[in-house]
């Protein structure tokens, strides 16, 4: 048996949505993280919870990239593809690299399944798979055999087959099994029979690799070098929940979170509902509008108020966000973006709600918009959103996306004590109080809360006098208030740190991106720079107000390319702001950018540079 060392591997587990592929992928990711690899994951599943078995649209996948060097993305194309049924093979084979390893559950390649997947003959028997290293394993049969004598029903036994696949890849990559066995027992603690069976099957998979002489090689991906410190794996929605708890704590306030179930934002509510001992109050509202209404009410009462949704829900919240703008109350609104419009692609990723975030309300209704670049970054964005909302007294939109929300990465634990506190105090002095008098530095009005004697006042969505807060329809007053609401948001730029610029401040191509495409764009830029190309990547953390420091570099490049998972929403904003030509790299397939798509687009621009010079 040969052991081959690899720098990095991309593996994709695919099967029916009931086959447990998300669990299998998640467990293998944990093992990779445990072994010290840098990891990046991409769960890709259908919106249907249990689509008809064997159907093409019911295929669920989980891609994991693990490496001994730093990585930013879940990988362009799998080196190893695990297919639990014909439909999974049909929909995923095209992505497998030439010469890649294909592990198929041959037991599922029966006539009925082949037919559902649209195969007229069994692909395992033809010549179509010759360019891959094919391992055809009857996982169904081997799982059943491993559970011979078990009291589980045949159906229950069948459900354990994903653990056979997991055991097999554990063996292939030399992973420690002990921790995994502990995790399986823990996970099925309430159903010990299942735990026992799953461990049996997991071990059977592992031993099959060891004893069956079909695998000539085992692979080793050495540990990556990480900065010293404590780490954990985290998904975007887990990190965002932690960030909200910490943000409220740093503000010295109570956290109130209200939401209405929607994919892919719901799990933020699930996490926060478990943090009651932090004083966190969560509220599952009757609809999206009620969720934001309750949040605004809580903000009025002095809580750190947060609501989250995805695009369709944010559309419903639009009028209430305007109320937050008008009454100038602090509020964090999270949009975990998915493919749109309408119901669109609930479980897939897209960045097409940027314009909605920046402009999507009636009237001149500016709000700051911040976007997270990775699962772990959502934590810091959440803390920052809480800080800005309370300091500037305004709703803040935090953009995440389905890819960040469900994807995971190793995350250095933040040093909470090192994050500056921003304790909030409320005015109690009734003398000389006016509802809309403003802080000269931030232009924020004061956050006066009910319960304060002598400061009783009325606010509302109707236009108010710029000082007293009484109803005013005066033409000059409305103009003044409209300008000051915008000026206040513009001032938030004074809080921005350094421009996140990777590369020289001048050159041939400037790649501009935002949000969850960060990893692909940064890695692509790294690849291009290593080839000696004059390419720089700028990542925009804030989209509203637009980063003013961009002005200092944007004219120093022969080409500016804005890469987004939409049809060019940021590109339009930059063009309008700077009156320069910006080309777009745009993709709307519900999938993140591949690194090679970005490098190809930049190379194409560079060939134009050469041609014209």
């Amino acid at each position: 048996m040969e052991t081959k060392e690899l720098e990095r591997v991309v593996i994709r587990f695919t099967g029916d949505s009931g086959d447990g592929m998300q669990l299998t992928g998640g467990e293998f990711a944990k093992a990779a993280a445990e072994a010290g690899n840098d990891i990046s994951t991409f769960p890709d599943f259908p919106a249907e919870i249990r689509a008809p078995a064997g159907s093409l649209f019911g295929v669920s996948g989980f891609q994991l990239h693990f490496s001994s060097s730093e990585i930013y993305t879940p990988g362009d194309a799998p080196d190893v593809l695990v297919c639990m049924n014909p439909a999974a093979l049909k929909t995923n084979l095209k992505d497998l690299v030439d010469g890649g390893t294909l592990i198929v559950n041959s037991g599922a390649f029966i006539e009925a399944n082949l037919k559902k997947a649209g195969y007229t003959e069994n692909p395992l028997e033809g010549t179509g798979l010759q360019k891959y290293k094919v391992h055809s394993v009857d996982i169904n049969h081997l799982t059943n055999t491993a559970l011979d004598g078990s009291e589980l029903t045949t159906k229950e036994k069948g459900r354990a087959k994903n653990f056979f696949a997991l055991g097999l890849v554990f063996w292939m990559y030399g992973r420690e099994t002990e921790a995994e066995i502990r995790r399986i027992y823990a996970q099925f603690a309430k159903k010990p029979g299942y735990g026992e069976a799953n461990v049996k099957v997991f071990k059977a998979g592992y031993h099959y690799g060891e004893t069956a002489e079909v695998f000539q090689t085992v692979y080793k991906v050495p540990a990556a070098t990480f900065a010293p410190g404590l780490y954990r794996n985290i998904t975007g929605n887990e990190a965002i929940a932690l960030g909200l708890v910490v943000g409220a704590e740093l503000a010295g306030k109570k956290l109130f979170y209200s939401g209405y179930p929607i994919t892919p934002a719901s799990s933020i509510l699930h996490s926060l509902a478990k943090y009651k001992n932090f004083g966190t109050l969560t509220f599952q509202a009757e609809d999206e509008i009620a969720a934001i209404g309750a949040a605004i009410g809580a903000a009025y009462g002095g809580a750190i108020a947060v609501t989250a949704s995805s695009g369709p829900g944010i559309a419903l919240k639009g009028e209430a966000i305007g109320l937050g703008v008008m009454t100038e109350l602090p509020l964090v609104i999270i949009n975990v973006q998915r493919g749109g419009p309408s119901t669109g692609l609930p479980t897939k990723t897209e960045q097409s709600d940027l314009a909605q975030a920046v402009y999507g309300r009636n009237g001149e209704s500016p709000i700051p918009v911040i976007a997270a670049k990775s699962p772990g970054d959502t934590f810091y964005c959440a803390v920052e959103a809480v800080k800005i909302a309370t300091r500037y007294m305004c709703p803040v939109m935090l953009l995440s996306d389905g890819y960040i929300a469900n994807g995971s990465e190793p995350w250095p634990l933040p040093d909470i004590a090192a994050i500056p506190r921003f304790d909030i105090t409320h005015r109690t002095d009734p003398d000389g109080y006016f509802v809309y008098q403003r802080d000269p530095e931030t232009l924020a009005r004061e956050w006066v809360i009910p319960g304060t004697p002598g400061l009783e006042h009325r606010i509302g969505g109707i236009e108010k006098d710029a000082l007293t807060g009484n109803i005013s329809y005066a033409p000059e007053n409305h103009e003044k208030q409209t300008h000051v609401r915008q000026a206040k948001i513009d001032r938030i730029a004074q809080e921005f740190g350094e421009l996140d610029l990777y590369g020289e401040t001048s050159g041939d191509v400037l790649v501009i991106g935002w949000g969850g495409t960060f990893g692909s764009l940064r890695q692509a830029t790294q690849v291009l720079q290593r080839q000696g190309k004059k390419v720089t990547h700028v990542h925009l953390r804030w989209l509203s107000p637009l980063e003013p420091k961009l002005a200092s570099v944007i004219r120093n490049f022969k080409h500016v390319m804005c890469a987004e998972l939409n049809l060019g929403q940021l590109r339009q904003m930059i063009r309008a702001q700077y009156l320069i030509d910006v080309v777009g790299l745009n993709k709307v397939q519900g999938l993140p950018f591949m690194v090679r798509e970005v490098t190809a687009a930049v190379d194409n621009l560079l060939s134009n540079v050469k041609a014209s010079s």
């Binding site: 009651k276 966190t280 009620a290 009410g297 009462g301 634990l413």
Partner: protein, 344 residues
């Protein structure tokens, strides 16, 4: 000591310096005056009182109350009031709404706030018309209402606000006419002390777009209203008539002969929901309308339960520790020499 000392307030203390902008003759003036006078006499703390409203004529109400106030957006007042009161159960939160705001655009929030038994005092001004948008028919307008949007008469059936809120789970349900200051004051006082979801329907007159719509009830209070008294029979017309139940629980108007009320229905505020629904079904023109407290029951409020869960969690798990929270799950340490240690 502070408990015992009642703050002396007058109606004037609850007025603001803002001009009241309702149309001359609007029923809202009477309601405002009664609310101000009642709350003053109850000795409320102005700073702990919040009026939240939606959109519509009635929803301008908070601007005229010298308490905290929030004039929100159309139909959504119960949602803001809920979020406010969940996080600030120390406050007294009143919601002002109308038949369009509370039963049409905000119907969903109305039923859910009541279902949860949110400790909110909701006052619904029912004038059977949209006033602020210039007179369209509303969800409580009678069939055949001629309005700018229904020039040949409305064709959809009105809903019965009392039936709706009883079905939704309100725990204190009352009805009153806008000008009946005495009855309204007594309802407000009892609503103020009720812990849970209050719904007071006020039959309010819009003199511009729907003048006199409640005249059948208000013109002849003795003949067209049953003023409910807990434990007393349902009588009206100076005690000469009453309500009894026939076969199939069909209510019938009967004469009271020689003061014999033994066959009449006896009002019980804490009666069964079935009884309360029966009262809700007594509507003009077939019946006199019951006024006063139709139904009440005691149930834990949402705010109390939500905050209790927090208290219980802290008691059980200890006060949240951010360090522990950050390092929950699978944690490992990368040491200076690059080696790794499991720290889970």
């Amino acid at each position: 000591m502070s408990e015992a000392v009642k703050i002396k307030l007058s109606k004037k203390d609850l007025e603001t310096d803002q001009d009241v902008r309702w149309c001359p003759g609007c029923g809202d003036y009477a309601i405002l005056a009664t609310v101000q006078r009642s709350l003053a006499s109850l000795g409320i703390k102005r700073e702990n009182t919040v009026f939240v409203s939606g959109i519509g004529c009635s929803s301008r109400f908070p601007y005229y109350m010298n308490t905290y106030g929030f004039h929100t957006i159309h139909g959504r007042a119960p949602t803001l009031a809920s979020g406010l009161h969940i996080t600030r159960p120390d406050l007294d939160v009143w919601v002002i709404t109308g038949d369009g705001d509370g039963l049409s655009i905000g119907g969903n929030h109305m039923i859910h706030a009541l279902r949860r038994n949110m400790d909110l005092k909701i006052i619904l001004f029912n004038n059977q018309i949209y006033g602020l948008t210039k007179g369209q028919y509303s969800p409580t307008s009678a069939v055949g209402t001629r309005a700018p949007s229904t020039p040949t008469g409305s064709i959809d059936h009105p809903l019965n606000p009392i039936s709706l809120v009883l079905g939704a789970g309100a725990t204190f349900v009352a009805r009153c006419a806008d000008t009946d200051a005495k009855l309204l004051a007594s309802i407000l006082e009892r609503a103020y002390h009720h812990k849970g979801a209050v719904l007071i329907e006020i039959l309010q007159n819009c003199p511009v777009f729907n003048d006199g719509v409640w005249e059948g009830v208000k013109d002849d209070p003795k003949g067209r209203q049953i003023v409910l008294q807990d434990g007393k029979p349902l009588v009206f017309a100076d005690g000469t008539k009453g309500i009894k139940l026939g076969a199939g629980l069909v209510p019938e108007i009967v004469d009271v002969v020689d003061g014999d009320t033994s066959q009449l229905v006896v009002h019980s505020e804490q009666g069964s929901p079935l009884y309360a629904h029966l009262l809700a079904g007594l509507v003009q023109p077939s019946f006199p309308m019951p006024m006063g407290v139709l139904y009440r029951t005691d149930k834990p409020t949402y705010e109390a339960l939500a905050n209790q869960q927090v208290t219980d969690a802290i008691a059980k798990q200890g006060k949240g520790d951010l360090g522990k929270l950050m390092s929950s799950g699978m944690v490992w340490e990368v040491c200076a020499d690059g080696s790794r240690k499991d720290r889970s």
